[in-house]
């Protein structure tokens, strides 16, 4: 058991190392600067969404609508290019992502419903909107040269997209570990009732968490659309599982209250290098799906196996409680708190 706990703590390093060794052995010419650059660029899309999801998961919530927001923002940025120019269109599109996140956050906080179920519904809504706007057809942008400029590789390794991802995740690391708002996110995730009692505005943190996640999903979608010069309503539909898998590989718990930005970085790199390795070997897309699904399930099981048993009643955060009426709903329940009981 101790070994499991230890393995679970340093699992990002172990899993990433194993992935790299296995890929290097199986794929000829895998370990090179160009692979690294390609892998980073591929990982950046998952990574930007994963940044937002890391914060949300730590605060005990989840957002399944990221892939749909990703598509929607990309479409908005491409469609508006003709009307208002490329940069303003990109900004409006990112703001559309922010708005989508704000809708998620307001509904979760306002209606006090489980974020899994709610973002499942908003995922359907945002995805339908994307199909609605585009008539289910892909749309293309005005400037092809821009995508070439964005795909340019600097210092042999970084594209603009992957550099932005690395910078943001380092910033997130400092924000989560060195600032008071960052610490409050952990407090809300590990025990919403206690956090509220200690004067932390749980609802506001949860709301802002959704806004943050929506903004980043929108940002990732805009970058993707600019790089491919295309917006499509089907973009990002297979991202949901990959993003959750990346964050969970990085040691962030679905139960809330635990997680780290650097872990997510490791998880994203793992998923990225796996994807690249499988693409080099021309493994079909559906087999890649099986792999990311397996990684997700196995790690979540590992997490359950090492979760310390017997947490105080009513302190289990949002996602593991059977009772999905979540944030701030526990303190006043008093004697009824056991209704939600153990999962």
């Amino acid at each position: 058991m101790r070994l499991l706990v230890l393995a679970s703590r340093y699992r990002v390093v172990i899993i990433l190392g194993l992935t790299l060794v296995a890929s290097a052995l199986l794929v000829p010419g895998y370990l090179s600067a160009s692979t690294l650059s390609l892998g980073l660029d591929r990982a950046a899309t998952i990574g930007l969404i994963a940044i937002g999801l890391t914060v949300l998961l730590i605060s005990g919530q989840i957002d399944l609508s990221g892939g749909a927001v990703f598509a929607l923002a990309g479409i908005v940025s491409v469609i508006l290019q003709r009307e208002i120019g490329i940069l303003p269109a990109a900004i409006v599109a990112i703001l559309a992502g922010t708005l989508a996140g704000a809708i998620n956050g307001a509904l979760v906080v306002g209606l006090k419903v489980n974020s899994l179920v709610l973002t499942l519904a908003t995922m359907l809504i945002f995805r339908s909107l994307a199909h609605w706007i585009t008539n289910s057809q892909p749309v293309s942008g005005t400037d092809i040269m821009l995508s070439l400029a964005l795909a340019k590789i600097y210092l042999d390794v970084f594209t603009i997209r992957s550099a932005l991802f690395i910078i943001l995740i380092v910033l997130l690391h400092f924000w989560l570990t060195r600032t008071i708002p960052g610490r409050n996110v952990f407090a809300v995730g590990s025990n919403p009732a206690a956090a509220k009692e200690s004067g932390i505005a749980s609802d506001r943190i949860v709301f802002l968490g959704f806004v943050f996640a929506g903004t980043l999903a929108g940002f990732a979608g805009v970058l993707q659309s600019l790089v491919t010069n295309t917006g499509s309503p089907v973009f990002g539909s297979e991202l949901t599982v990959a993003v959750i898998a990346a964050v969970v590989v990085g040691g962030t718990r679905l139960e809330g209250g635990r997680g780290s930005a650097l872990g997510t970085l490791g998880g994203v790199l793992t998923i990225g290098s796996l994807t690249i390795a499988m693409e080099f070997q021309s493994v079909p897309a559906y087999v890649q799906q099986v792999v990311s699904g397996l990684i997700l399930i196995l790690l979540v099981m590992l997490d359950r196996a090492v979760t310390t048993k017997g947490r105080a009643q009513g302190t289990r955060p949002a996602l593991v409680r059977d009772d999905p009426i979540t944030q701030g709903g526990k303190a006043w329940l008093g004697g009824k708190a056991w209704l939600g009981g153990k999962a």
Binding site: L120, T122, R127, S128, W132, Y286, L296, P324
Partner: protein, 329 residues
């Protein structure tokens, strides 16, 4: 003892004993269904034709079989089963793909059985390991769909047995066979949920997990069972879908999970668990299907229909949470 407590306390907690709320929650859906029918017959002359209604009934039956299973998942407090597209694809692809090798009936049975196996995996992860149902079914669904696709090489499978197609598309006493199968499954589901020990266990587990566990209800098995039931139901639904269409592509079941979840929550089955019945879910299904049909006849495009479904889920879940809060506070 537990049984009696559940039967009396549950509606009480939900409506706070108010007769008005109780009546509204029961009659509300009936009114909504009538309103949709009225609107449909006003805007489209095609609505009240036997051809159209029969079409609605047939497509409703395919979703309806899944809805019966999904009701168990929601009532037991399992949130939702997102592996439905995988189990439907499993049922459809295998029941067509295996026909040349082992004949239509064994192919169908094997396909449903394998779908049930996916459900068993879900059930073990959710019930025994204690993983969040949505994450577990999302992961297992992705894996299952990938394996089914890999098994047939990611292509479309076509049927090779005209007799089985005739049967699935055929009618008995003027009623389509698919509708009859749905009615039988719905009756069995209703009987199990409302009249059997398994149903009482399901309601008890969803209503109060700890209390049910303390009363010696095998809560883990009951929770796992709900996912097996849903997977078997979707397997049957997928098999029938494949036989009717005589072709199955890997994404044949995409969207069915949302249709089923929408029907169940619109029917007033609590997403938190512990409350709900098959007839309620089917009333929700009738409402959603009629609404979709009226939108189609009205020329509303598919994306907007998805949009409306999403808003219906948000509205129903929000209302459920509001009612719950009143009941508990």
């Amino acid at each position: 003892m537990t049984d009696a407590a559940v039967e009396i306390v549950t509606p009480d907690r939900f409506t706070r004993g108010s007769k008005l709320v109780d009546a509204l929650s029961k009659a509300g859906l009936a009114f909504a269904i009538l309103a949709v029918m009225l609107y449909g017959s006003l805007v489209s002359p095609a609505f009240f034709t036997s051809g159209n209604l029969l079409n609605v009934l047939t497509s409703m039956s395919i979703v309806g079989i899944v809805v019966v299973g999904m009701t168990f998942v929601l009532v037991v407090g399992g949130l939702a089963d997102l592996s439905v597209p995988a189990t439907i694809a499993c049922g459809a692809i295998l029941s067509l793909g295996l026909q040349p090798m082992i004949g239509p009936l064994p192919a169908f049975v094997l396909a449903v059985g394998l779908a049930g196996l996916i459900g068993l995996l879900n059930g073990v992860l959710v019930g025994y390991v204690g993983i969040n149902p949505i994450i577990a079914t999302l992961g297992i669904g992705t894996i299952g769909l990938g394996i089914v696709q890999a098994a047939v090489g990611g292509v479309i499978v076509y049927g090779s047995n005209p007799a089985s197609a005739e049967f699935a598309k055929g009618r008995l006493f003027g009623i389509p066979v698919v509708v009859l199968i749905f009615l039988v499954i719905a009756l069995i589901g209703h009987f199990v949920l409302s009249r059997s020990f398994w149903g009482r266990w399901t309601l008890a587990t969803g209503g109060n997990y700890s209390a049910a566990e303390a009363s010696a209800v095998p809560v883990q098995a009951v929770k796992a069972g709900a996912f097996v039931i849903t997977a078997l139901a979707s397997g049957i639904s997928g098999g029938l879908l494949g036989l009717t269409l005589q072709s199955a592509r890997p994404l044949i079941g995409a969207g069915y999970e949302f249709s089923a979840i929408t029907a169940v929550v619109v029917g007033g089955v609590s997403i938190i668990g512990g409350f709900g019945s098959v007839p309620r879910a089917i009333a929700g299904l009738i409402f959603v299907q009629l609404l979709t049909n009226v939108m189609v006849l009205d020329g509303v495009r598919t994306p907007i229909q998805g949009f409306v479904l999403g808003i219906l889920i948000v509205g129903a879940v929000g209302m459920d949470a509001a009612l719950r809060k009143r009941g508990v506070a």
